[in-house]
Each structure stands twice: as C-alpha cells, then as structure tokens.
Symmetry: C2
Subunit: 344 residues, 2 copies
C-alpha cells in the first residue's frame, strides 16, 4: 500500500454541511500534508469554500452531486432517493471503487450505515457490522463497540467485535496485543445474558494470538480504562455512550454554577482559569469525534452531525490513521488467526 | 395505616456490617424521631453499638441471628444456607409478617432479591420485580428502573415498570402525575428493539390516569431529567447507572489533577474551596443511596455494600418515606387503574 492517503468526504452531511466539512478537512490536512480528498457535494457551494482554503491547495477533487441525504430521512428512504447519486452514497462508492481508502460523513447515521452495507457489503466471516468509538478514560482511550449499529446480539457477533475492536486498538492505540473486556452487569461468570456468557466461554477457550481476553467489565470500568477494548451489544452500548456524555455535561453545569455562586468562588475561578481550560479541553467531545464502521469491505467514519470544523477534523484524522495503517488488512488477518470466528 | 413506621434492618449486611448499620439508623432516626427498628444480627456485636447510640434510645428491638449472608455468596447458596435464619432473611420476613413496613439491607444484591422473591412473593399482576434508584439530574432527581433485578424484558414488563416507577415517583418526588420515558437509542418511533417499540405502543394507546407517557428518551436524557421516571431493561439500566457513576468519578479525578497542577490553580482552589465542597456534596453518591425493590408483596431497600453510615441512613430515609406513604397501596391502585397491565 502506498503511503499516500486519499479520503472521500460527504461534503453535504451534518447539520452545517460544507461550511464545516471543508474547513475540517483543511485542519486535518495541516496535520497530514500528504493527504488528498475527494469531495462529493454541490459544486457551486463547495468550490468557493475549497478555493478560500490555502491549506487545501492542490489536494481536493470535487465531484458534483445534486442529491443530499437529510438528517431526518429514514434509512430506507435515503437509500431509495440517494442510491448511486447522493453525496453520501458517492463518498462510500469511492471507497468501494478503490479511489479512496476511507470515507467520512457527518450525515444521518442510519442512512450512512444502510448505504455502507449495500454498497460495500459485509466482510467475509462477519455477521453484522458494528460502530466503534474512542472512549476517553483516566488512562488514555479505549475502543468501545458497538455503540449503535445493530440492536440485539449473539455470542459469535460479540466475539467478532472483540477481534475487530482489537484490530482498531492495534492501529489507533498502537498496541500489539490489546486487552478485551465484555461489558456486563457483574464480573462473576454466572452474571449476564446468554450471549455474553457464551461469548465469554468462547473467548476463554479459544487460543487468541492477537489480543488478551480480560473477562467481564462493568459500566464504571469504561471511564477507568480497565481494558483497551470493551465489547457490548449496540442497544446497551449506545445508551452507555450517551449516558456518559450526559453525565459529563451535567457535572460541567454543576461546576459552572458552583464557580459563579460567590465572590470568593469567582476569584478562585480567575486564578484557576487555565486549569479549567485544560479540564474543558479534556472533556471536549470533539477531540474523540468519529464512529468507525467495522465489519464492512471498506472504511467508513461517521462524524457527529453537530460537530464544528475541529470535531470533523478529528474524524478525518481517524480515517487517515485507519487508511494509512490498513485497518482492513489488520481485521482480516486477526479474524483468520482467531479460530472461533475464522471465515471458512 | 398508623403514622408510626417500623423498619427492619439486616444488621450484618454490607462491607462493614453493624458498625455502619447502627450509626446509619441513628442518623436517619434523628430526621424521623417516630421511627423504630427491628435489627437482625449477632446480638453480642449489635447490642453494644445500639446502647452507645443515644439517638436510638428506646427505638430498637434486637433479634439475635447466627447466620450471615456473605457478599460473595451465590444467591442459591445464600437461600439454602440462610433461609429462615439469616439476618437478611429475617429482616425480609419481618415485612412479610407485618412486624415492619420495610426492610433495609446493605448485603449481597442477588441474595437479597432471591430471598425477597421467595419470602414476599411477586405482586399480583407483576411478571418480575425491578430495582429502582433515584438518579440525580440537573433538575433534581428522577426514578430510574430497572437497574439490575432482571436480565431481558418484554413490553408488558416495561409497562409494569412504568406504573411502579410512577408510584415511587409520586411518593419520593411528590408528583401527582409523573412523566415517564422509555430508554432507547433514539427518539423516533421506529428505533429500538421489539420490547420498547411494543411498550411504547401500549403506553400510547392506553388511557393513563396516573402518569403521562412522554415517549422515548436517550442516555443523555438521564442527567438532564427530561422525564420524572425512566424505564429500561435491567442489563442496560445497570450498565447505564455504573457508567454514569464511573464518568462522575473520572471527571472528579481530572478536576483534582487540574487544581493541583500549578500554583495559580492551587490558589484558585483555596478561594473556591467552598464551591468545590458544594460540588462534591452534589456529586456524592451517598446522598441518593438505596435501590428500591419494586413488584414484591412488601418493601425492600438495598443499600450499597460499601456505603458509610451517612449512605446507609439515606437508604433508611427512603424506606421510611416508602412505608409512611404506603408505596404498596399506591402501586396496587395505579396498577388497577392502568388497563394495559391491570391484574385480572
């Protein structure tokens, strides 16, 4: 694989469309000057934004599209209306056709997943795709999946996610042999539903050459960073992720209120303002923006729809790293080396 | 019902046993001087502690027991060894026999639930019990259930939990007509698993005289306090609760690190220390300690095993409120008035 990374972008996706996507791409390119982009969207809107960005000079090819997927389109509706011609579909298709190594969209998650499944197809040996995110922990970051691709699971799917999450952790966290935990309501063997119990048995009894199975972890292990990878079913994973985001916001609002309540607290805030700025930066969700679709024949990254350019740039960074270190090949190799889920 | 509330206590439960339970009861009794206790445990240990507590004078009857359930006993093992004679069983039995209006234990949750089910039986019209907790929100508190009683659910069980959670919210939050949300991965009708979709349909189509069905809520609505009651299946609810606790701890540790990093931050901390103390108090999990077992023929409250006396006192306060306002009658009335789940 060449070192030259080309990323396809759905320029029309997200709450702010090209006005976030274009500057976001520019910020990411500053960090990876060899990176180029294929941008799909309304040329009349996209071109002036690209031309106004010196950091994107010579790095962007714009492909004009006339259809955009709306944030509230149902996935089936988006596929019907956007298949083959929407900016979202075309960005994914560029990955399928080998023109780009990864696609990034801030559009509607359901539509992006539906189109990705149809256009790229599921990998051999994988039942269903998953969405992985980077979860900030007191130790650094962990890979957590599935945060909402599929509802319901079984043991094989959980084991597949353990493998795919480990592949992602190897690349993003630079770990040769990541540790994997199964999210559960307790750490004893008898705890949990049938799927996690059976997955635990499979992982204990399989010889694992690429990652270490740690055992069950609980909700509070997520922030602790007990394991490098945490695997769970999509319904629970999505709720855990949003609960953590909500709790962080809630504490932020308590803190703000507490610091404004008395004169002494206000003075204290002034003295400690750099510490607070560092804390805000630490809690800033834009730093870890980007849901990685795993289990498809190609890399697709979902950026939060409401992110600003900095947040979109984080998602592009993630796409760059996955492409440069060939996530697809890493997943395939790790699947082949895991007997419990190795494709026939 | 008389105003006089008697609470039965498993004096041997929890990591610290009587040395937390007895002073915890004393703290709660200062707030509710009419309350009396039946304490089950090793009399040789419990009596000196009770006699050293002037706040408990004349309010405690000690019942000697020789068997204690260990924190790591399996529920089946605890029932086999402790049925009829352990401090935990006897505390529950006192509720069944009408000697106490509610039982509180800081012991092993699985054992407490197993014994409560056997000793008290499930209420008519209720499939399975649930554990409800008070979740701190930016608006105050919400009732969230199930946080771990049962794994897996169906639509009827979710609707039953909506009714039981509303009954608890009426008492604890003093709301005539609480709002209820179903925890889901999105707010659109098509989102989620079959159980939540069907429960939503039942709640929309049933005439509800005691609470208002709000619709789906997401993980970040928990901290926001979007609804007074949030209903979810026990696996997801337990993970959401522990994820929130873990996130709060994680941010607390970031904050502590940030405030100690520079001289200026340290000075700021000194000025703002009262504000930080208020924040710590707000984030203190002991304030909202107590999981309420709902759906049984009697009130049982689970205190965290690692709580201190203040935390145990919060669980006793909760038991007191539930008993004084007759949670059992409120649940029965609300079930009868909800056609979708009214017992035959």
């Amino acid at each position: 694989m060449s070192n030259r990374v080309c990323i396809s972008l759905d320029a029309m996706g997200g709450d702010h469309g090209p006005s976030t996507v274009v500057p976001g791409a520019a910020i990411a390119r500053e960090r990876h000057p060899e990176m180029t982009f294929l941008m799909f969207g309304d040329e009349a809107v996209v071109r002036p934004l690209v031309e106004a960005e010196p950091r994107l000079k010579g790095a962007v090819e714009i492909r004009h599209t006339t259809v955009s997927v709306a944030m509230d389109d149902k996935p089936s509706q988006a596929v019907r209306q956007g298949r083959g011609k929407s900016s979202m579909w075309r960005a994914i298709q560029a990955v399928r056709d080998g023109e780009a190594q990864a696609a990034v969209s801030a559009g509607n998650t359901g539509a992006l997943m539906a189109m990705s499944k149809i256009c790229l197809k599921t990998m051999a040996g994988i039942e269903r795709p998953a969405i992985a995110c980077l979860w900030p922990t007191v130790r650094g970051e962990s890979v957590v999946l599935d945060v909402g691709a599929t509802i319901g699971t079984d043991a094989e799917h959980l084991v597949e996610m353990a493998v795919m999450g480990s592949a992602m952790a190897r690349i993003v966290l630079d770990l040769e042999r990541p540790t994997v935990g199964l999210l559960n309501v307790g750490t004893e063997e008898m705890k949990g539903n049938e799927a996690v119990k059976e997955a635990a048995r499979l992982l204990r009894e399989t010889e694992l050459s690429n990652f270490t199975y740690y055992g069950f972890v609980e909700g509070n292990d997520l922030g602790r960073g007990t394991t490098d990878v945490v695997v769970t079913e999509g319904f629970t994973g999505n709720i855990a992720l949003k609960t953590a985001e909500g709790t962080a916001k809630q504490i932020g609002s308590y803190l703000k209120a507490a610091m404004g309540r008395t004169l002494s607290a206000k003075i204290g805030y002034l003295f400690a303002r750099q510490a607070f700025a560092a804390l805000r930066e630490k809690m800033n969700p834009s730093r870890a923006n980007g849901g990685v679709f795993l289990g498809l024949e190609g890399i697709v990254i979902k950026s939060h729809g409401s992110e600003n350019a900095q947040g979109f740039a984080s998602a592009v960074d993630l796409a760059h790293d996955m492409a440069q270190h060939d996530l697809m090949r890493t997943i395939r190799e790790m699947l082949e080396q895991t007997p419990a889920v190795a494709p026939a």
